[in-house]
Subunit: 377 residues, 2 copies
Amino acid sequence: MPPTISDLPTPCLLLDRPRMERNCRRLRQRIAGLGAALRPHLKTCKSLPAAEIMMAGGDGSATASTLREAEEFAAAGVRDLIYAVGISPQKLDRVARLRAAGVDLAVILDSTEQAEALAARARGGEAPIPALIEIDADGHRAGIRAERREFLLAVARALPPGGLRGVLTHAGDSYHAHGTAALEQAAEQERAAAVTAAGILRSAGFACPVVSVGSTPTAHFARDLTGVTEVRAGVYCFFDLVMAGLGVCTLDDIACTVLATVIGHQPEKGPLGGWTLTDAGWMALSRDRGDGAQGYGLVCDAAGRPYENWLVVETSQEHGVLALRPGTKQPPPRLAVGERVRILPNHICATAAQFDSYYVLDGGTEVIAEWPRFRGW
Amino acid sequence: MPPTISDLPTPCLLLDRPRMERNCRRLRQRIAGLGAALRPHLKTCKSLPAAEIMMAGGDGSATASTLREAEEFAAAGVRDLIYAVGISPQKLDRVARLRAAGVDLAVILDSTEQAEALAARARGGEAPIPALIEIDADGHRAGIRAERREFLLAVARALPPGGLRGVLTHAGDSYHAHGTAALEQAAEQERAAAVTAAGILRSAGFACPVVSVGSTPTAHFARDLTGVTEVRAGVYCFFDLVMAGLGVCTLDDIACTVLATVIGHQPEKGPLGGWTLTDAGWMALSRDRGDGAQGYGLVCDAAGRPYENWLVVETSQEHGVLALRPGTKQPPPRLAVGERVRILPNHICATAAQFDSYYVLDGGTEVIAEWPRFRGW
């Protein structure tokens, strides 16, 4: 008998492979239809077999959020990477080592200080490390607003000759855009910021071959990618409750769940039906509350069917408290100590990071593989 | 030259060993003065060298929040452990294996179902696994209220003969008790609940040798531990902003910080002084917001001196946004890209769990050791 989820220790992380494959095909086809390349962001999966699914059918390019990711995926053969967090000078030795090993790893930056650090290395005789200038599309985090034309050009000029690879932006505010119109608008704003900045750089004589945009919401709602060469996204491979809340996916698209075991009951506490306690606390689910609408996660039965109104309402380190969603009337199920539930996560990047592997399911409850994850920087 | 924190990759986790040793001595002496034993909870440190400091001067007993912790610390020679999360039947094989290897590992439970699972194993010929009945002192999570005398006795009677080790409670609500009076009251409520339950069991003929209470706040504010045999606490070894907010420690007692590097500036955003971006996002700091008063953490200089009003106000996976605390007027420092800061964590159990090791400091900025951490279940 092959193992099933009943044989797994809890808490653990489950991955439904057919759902993941469907999610990956969906975005790959969508972006190809809009004439851009997809550069999968591997920060969500941090796993070689999962990255292979994300990269299937692509051009071999990928995105990393840490140098550790770049090193791990480079060791597995990935040769075209962007480290998409603003570079600090101390990290350039590791970047240069990967480049010397044949990996086309580019960095991003938004200041003359950073550009001068790259130029200083090039003056020292090193081949220029290619850089993308980070553009701020929506004010949510880092980058240079395309309107700051002179500053943008100053950063480009501070780079070593031949060091400008392009521009990159991330519409992080799209995680707070609700409804089709708002998401389409966030996508267009992201596109326009990057294309405008690239135009400014080209007008000044820079080649700027790459125009890189992306976030999972904007990647799914962009109607036009004119001028964009590539789209980055990560969470689309698994999806989560935040993405479902935005309407980017349905609950049936969410590929990862946390398997938990019932460890007790407190029938006199909380709403109708009381509390059910499980062994999946914040150490398993993470402290991410998502948009606040689903507690620490939505409870499903062991087959993965959501109960809809049964939430993880509170957590401590190794305890999860399940209770009925406030305002609902249908009593929750009474599961015995030892029975299993599955929790849909608010934010899969945070939840998956709490685990060292995925137990992989082929659509049912049989466990067909265990895929290791890595972490660290 | 010995390495200093300037040589470390960021983000990483720093541990000031003299502060940790002082914190551990303080609680050990306090609990000894009240006539009880200290059973350190190793869920916070998850590291053998750190556990040695927590256990120094004690009776060899410790507490675990996962069977993985029990297994790791047992392999290092710890022989007296309580797994202090309600037991599920599936986990009993691992418990029995540790016991067969000579580890006195006890479990906790609060239902007849769980007690019967233990009794069934004993009827099968296995030596009884000792159990403590979990008592609910404050309604915050699991356990049986001492007032539920008949249910308490029913659980005790369902255990295998000789299987009742004692009672255990955890005043989790003390994390929300503000001020000396409230904390002293939480401690007394915790003591009274456990002692009352033990009295009920003893009146019915059960031996109930162990009366175990504890949380870091109540351990520091209990004035009387009459009837209590042992106190469990974990976060006291490192402390954090939540504990400082309760008045259990000062900022100078907090032993762990996250070292981060400045990666950019957004002078036009946020309050006076704008935003400074670092490479310590929620992947490093965790998503724990603590009591909400300190954002995702309080910023210190590279020597560990707090700036007081400079907070991590927002995080994404690998970005931390530093900004002035709302309402303050003294502008924040302007640190160049590449300069280092240290972040005091909200909740060190959650923050430390994001890292695979501690870089250990001897009170200054020299790195004297790297202590591995483990994780998982």
